[in-house]
């Protein structure tokens, strides 16, 4: 409920319409680009507009805050806005996790002519049996799908061929070479460091804040670096690409979107770090930083889900 007796309603603003133009250009350009033979220029134009407008927009919000125009209530609106935005992101990841579970548990069994939920009832349905015998003869349910149904049925003529290797746990002997484990350690640590930075800021310990936030940003960058390394490895040495059937599909989409979100989160934290160096924030006013750190924790939790369901339980 409202606690203020007046409220800051901003003046007219040119930023939103420019942002909308940017988004429109971006969307149109992206579609043009992905179609065979399309050029990326419209897309890049849209990106440029968006970058500029976002820079201007955030600067304006920060500036209003510094000038004291944003009262407690407006700040609360920003808090709600950020939390619900994160919720929408949670739902976005939920779709891809849902797709992973559906494909792994149900579809994969049906394609192999098996009952999907064996402990419940282990007689396969007639459809599942026909699926396997008529459409994809020879396919055996497996996860990760190393030999696709297409390959099982059509051999070398198959359009979709499975990967040569997957990202599973390589055994205790090689555990230290297993990048996802390192990445898990890095992200978990970064959640702690960002928390230390937060506590430091609340206690007005600026130096400690700058240091620990700086460390967090560095950890984010290292994570991204390792992730890139993993992708290069997958493409060059493991025969694991987007085109290698459903395993590659779910692997790259889940980790890829996560990586994109880490990139965004790292950028957010980096900006907050730069703001910290400039002397922004005080022990009781630090929303920009807090929002970025919530986002960071969210990205972290998603990674845990990924680590468990994409890498460990495979």
């Amino acid at each position: 409920m409202s606690t203020e007796n007046s409220y800051y309603v901003p003046e007219q603003s040119k930023l939103p319409i420019i942002a909308a133009t940017g988004m429109g250009t971006l969307a149109f350009g992206a579609a043009t680009w992905v179609i065979d033979g399309g050029s990326p220029y419209i897309f890049l134009g849209g990106l440029l507009i968006m970058a500029l407008v976002m820079y201007r927009w955030w600067s304006l919000v920060i500036d209003e805050n510094m000038r004291g125009l944003a009262n407690q209530q407006l700040k609360q609106s920003y808090v709600l806005g950020m939390l619900w935005f994160i919720f929408s992101e949670v739902m976005f990841f939920a779709v891809f996790f849902g797709a992973l579970f559906y494909v792994r548990v149900l579809v994969n069994s049906w394609l192999g002519g098996e009952a999907a939920v064996g402990w419940f009832d282990d007689t396969p349905t007639g459809t599942a049996v026909a699926n396997n015998e008529i459409l994809w003869p020879g396919y055996e349910s497996q996860w990760p799908v190393m030999e696709t149904p297409d390959q099982a049925a059509n051999g070398d003529a198959a359009q979709f061929k499975g990967p040569e290797q997957n990202m599973n746990f390589p055994g205790w002997g090689r555990i230290l070479h297993w990048l996802p484990l390192w990445n898990t350690v890095i992200l978990l640590t970064s959640s702690v460091t960002v928390h230390i930075a937060h506590t430091a800021l609340k206690n007005d310990n600026r130096k400690k804040f700058n240091t620990w936030l700086g460390i967090t940003v560095a950890l984010g960058i290292i994570f991204l670096f390792l992730q890139a390394e993993e992708y290069i490895e997958a493409y060059q040495h493991m025969g694991l690409t987007l085109e290698t059937g459903i395993y590659g599909t779910t692997f790259f989409l889940l980790t890829g979107f996560h990586g994109a979100h880490v990139t965004l989160g790292t950028m957010m934290l980096l900006i907050q770090w730069l703001r910290g160096l400039k002397g922004h924030f005080s022990h009781d006013d630090q929303f920009g930083f807090e929002a970025a750190s919530w986002y960071w924790h969210f990205v972290d939790v998603v990674w845990l889900g990924l680590f468990i369901f994409v890498y460990v339980l495979a």
Partner: protein, 524 residues
Amino acid sequence: MAHGPATMADGWIKYASRWLFTTNHKDIGTLYLWFSFAMFILGGAFAMIIRAELFQPGMQLINPEFFNQMTTMHGLVMVFGAIMPAFVGLANWLIPMMIGAPDMALPRMNNLSFWILPFAFAILVSTLFMEGGGPNFGWTFYAPLSTTYAPDTVNYFIFGVHIMGASSIMGSINIIATVMNMRAPGMTYMKMPLFVWTWVITAFLLVAVMPVLAGAVTMMLMDINFGTSFFNAAGGGDPVLFQHVFWFFGHPEVYIIILPAFGVVSQIIPTFSRKPLFGYSSMVYATASIAFMSFIVWAHHMFTVGMPIAGELYFMYATLLIAVPTGVKVFNWITTMYKGSLTFETPMLFSIAFVILFTFGGFTGLMLSIAAADMQYHDTYFVVAHFHYVMVAGAVFSGTAAVYYWLPKWCGKMYNETMGKVQFWIAFIGFNITFMPQHFLGLAGMPRRYADYGLQFADWNMLSSVGAFMYGAAQILFLFNVVRTITHGKPVEDPQVWEGAEGLEWTLPTPAPYHTFETPPEVK
């Protein structure tokens, strides 16, 4: 800050920039409403093309490829361009006034949410003029029709949907923040007008499922352009996965469309019954439980696709269960009218028609949710009839009612009552002539989404087309009436406008000033 809005008199540059740069919830509400009406006319034109072709068996006017583009674009434009923005427009206009707030919580983002829409729909509609034509795979865009077999322009559709979704998410976050954070002192949750309640619940639904839609189109994008196999069994995926993802969005989406409509009639019926709404708190709980349940019934759209029997049964029973809270609502509306001193102004007529016809559509929904029976009904005109009863007589009628009801408050002028009533009767009769026969067509086995049909379906189809043009004509009258009200309407000064109207928005002067509630009112 206290300057008034620019008018034509200030020169067209000032006037245009008012609309482009505005942060005012009333301006943005107006923009949404006009945009929605424009899309309504466009989507209506597509529907007229469809009905003209189906007037007689055989191919007369257009070719089947174009017919497919028309059914697809009609659905997309109506759902995402006409109905949803109409209710966001109403939310913008009304929620701040109803809860005693000066504006929406995040006014600049509000402007952005609106202005994305013209871009999104320009992108979508432009595909009609591109090589390969517009999307032709139905508004539900099932894979592999929308992936393997789609024209290249599907990519424009995908990115159009993406930015449209971004607009919806921002709009809903704004509404949630406004309702949670900006209510006037004393405006507790259980005092909020029902329109506000239904909208905040709708906004939760939107924030939860628009990302799911984004996920669905992203998977399509990857399958089409980057060789992934989400929807391709050859690589280990499954086309049925698409349907699950789509309907996990799609079913809540139909409630996104109808809940604000529930809110509107729950405001209007008490006014013209001169009685408070019967069972306010049960209305709130019913809305919340409908919203919750809408997440767990999606596969009732997929009974014929081949699900395990346990799935068929679960989704059947879960769907039937929604009739309970829906029944509570219908009961409450009727009981509100019971022994009220009723008058039948245009908004009330549309609201009563809403209650009757929506209930009818709910009943056909129950028929469809019986899994065994749906084997016969699925993908026939019976389904088309069902959802037009709930979406047109439901959402569109209530939107029309809302415009007539609040128009005097918005512009300080009264619409022409006779013309409103004439419009109502043409719309009501036209609507039923259009869609009632489609039930019979469906039961007799006429499949939906075909450009041609067997001779045995000729009579009902001809009748249906006649009704459609009648219903279309009613919209022209609507436009005329609204425009004439704004330009020549009889001025109204009474803040309350309607004798029985209750709520904060009716305490404001008529027409509502540009800025309202700059200091919060006290709600007792």
